[in-house]
């Protein structure tokens, strides 16, 4: 995560950020205390978790829910709290 910072000669003019949405390269997954684990057999693909995840960390594959993106998931537990079939468990993160 820590990288050498660019000097003024390498930065774009005006300090502009040229790539849209480049926060993807910043991993907020390190904030997590609890980790969501999804039981995909229980999941009914209602996609409510996709709508209510504040960090866009619900992975969608072929139109279906396919677990969480642990690089960005902050472990807030919203997906587990709203899941209508209780398919998501919050497990204490182990380093």
């Amino acid at each position: 995560m820590t990288e050498t910072k660019k000097g003024w000669k390498d930065l774009p003019i005006g300090g502009n950020i040229l790539e849209a949405g480049n926060s993807q390269h910043y991993f907020t997954g390190t904030w997590r205390t609890y980790k969501p684990i999804t039981d995909l057999d229980k999941c009914i693909n209602c996609l409510q978790c996709w709508m209510f995840c504040p960090d866009n960390s619900i992975v969608i594959k072929d139109g279906k829910m396919d677990g969480q993106d642990y690089d960005h998931c902050k472990g807030c537990g919203v997906c587990a709290a709203i899941c209508p079939v209780k398919a998501i468990d919050m497990i204490k993160e182990e380093k």
Binding site: L11, G21, Q24, H25, Y26, F52, P54, D55, N56, K74
Partner: protein, 317 residues
């Protein structure tokens, strides 16, 4: 375009992950609901606030739309200027065809709307710019350390209205911003809550597609400010609507109406629950549940009922 989750998941998300909003903050969800409700190209302005600060920490930005921040008080003026410039450039043929129907959206918190940005908002509404102003109302200056704003409800414990032997928190009621905005006779204004995403996205779509200035007031629970766990905001916003603390209101072409749960409550199809249910799960109201401060809950209930009856009356119930 139909607003179904099956369609929405295939679209590009407006705000990428990796932003540094608090874990469990509903504001990124609000941004997603507003911006994904239509397919227009959009230009976003952001007032100073949590959303602006935490999504654009240099050298990163979470936004997938053109985005500008100017100052705390002038997001409405900034976005109305962009809209006017877009029109001027369109007239001389400088805007490419695919951007002709671009939409202009301002995001601001309650500090940047109720207090600091009120005059620039009023000016933009009066000038009739074709823009949408979205206020996410977390009822205080949460980003700077939980100070009271004019959106903070009675009885809330904040750092500038601290509780103590002589104080039960804020003593004044909230400012009724929706009525102030509607008094500009704009074509569309509404209040909504992110838990009812269908209601919120329908209102966003209507607001974006309506010609002229439009306004959306969003309920936005704040995890550190309201002292709540990070996973309860959906349930909490639902309770706020069911207690009529936060009614879902629509103001369209001079006519008021209620939507979602609020409509069902007004029609007697859903029970209206006491405001205590909303207060008891939040740390900022914890002090009200002692013998000394019990009477404040009655004051809050009266305040909520007064505002609810007012809007119910406007909607013709």
């Amino acid at each position: 375009m139909a607003l179904t989750l099956k369609d929405l998941i295939n679209k590009q998300i407006p705000l990428n992950g990796g932003h540094r909003m608090c874990g469990g903050c509903p504001v990124p969800v609000i941004v997603k609901q507003v911006l994904m409700s239509t397919d227009h190209p959009k230009i976003i302005g952001n007032a100073t606030g949590c959303l602006e600060v935490a999504t654009t920490i240099y050298p990163y930005t979470a936004w997938n739309h053109p985005w500008i921040h100017n100052a705390f008080e002038n997001v409405a003026a900034t976005v109305s200027g962009i809209e006017a410039a877009h029109n001027a450039l369109s007239r001389i043929g400088e805007v490419p065809e695919h951007n002709k129907d671009a939409k202009f959206i301002a995001f601001a918190g309650d500090g940047g709307t109720y207090d600091i940005g009120l005059q620039s908002l009023s000016g933009a509404l009066e000038r009739g710019h074709n823009m949408l102003y979205v206020c996410y109302d977390n009822e205080g200056y949460m980003n700077t350390g939980i100070q009271r704003s004019s959106a903070t409800p009675i009885g809330a414990n904040t750092t500038t209205t601290p509780i103590g032997s002589e104080s039960y928190g804020k003593t004044q009621s909230r400012k009724d911003l929706l009525s102030i905005v509607a008094a500009h006779h704009i074509p569309y204004a509404a209040s909504t809550s992110p838990h009812n995403w269908m209601d919120a996205m329908k209102k966003s779509k209507k607001a974006i597609e309506t010609q002229g200035p439009t306004f959306l007031l969003y309920f936005a629970p704040c995890i550190p400010g309201w002292k709540i766990p990070s996973d309860v905001w959906k349930k909490l916003s639902e309770t706020a609507v069911k207690t009529c603390f936060w009614p879902l209101i629509e103001f369209e072409d001079g006519k008021w109406s209620l939507t979602g749960e609020s409509k069902l409550i007004a029609e007697g199809k859903m029970p209206k629950i006491p405001v205590e249910e909303f207060l008891k799960s939040q740390g900022r109201f914890k002090h009200l549940f002692t013998d000394k401060n019990k009477h404040v809950i009655e004051i809050i209930q009266k305040d909520v009922d007064k505002s609810w009856n007012y809007y119910k009356g406007l909607a013709g119930y």
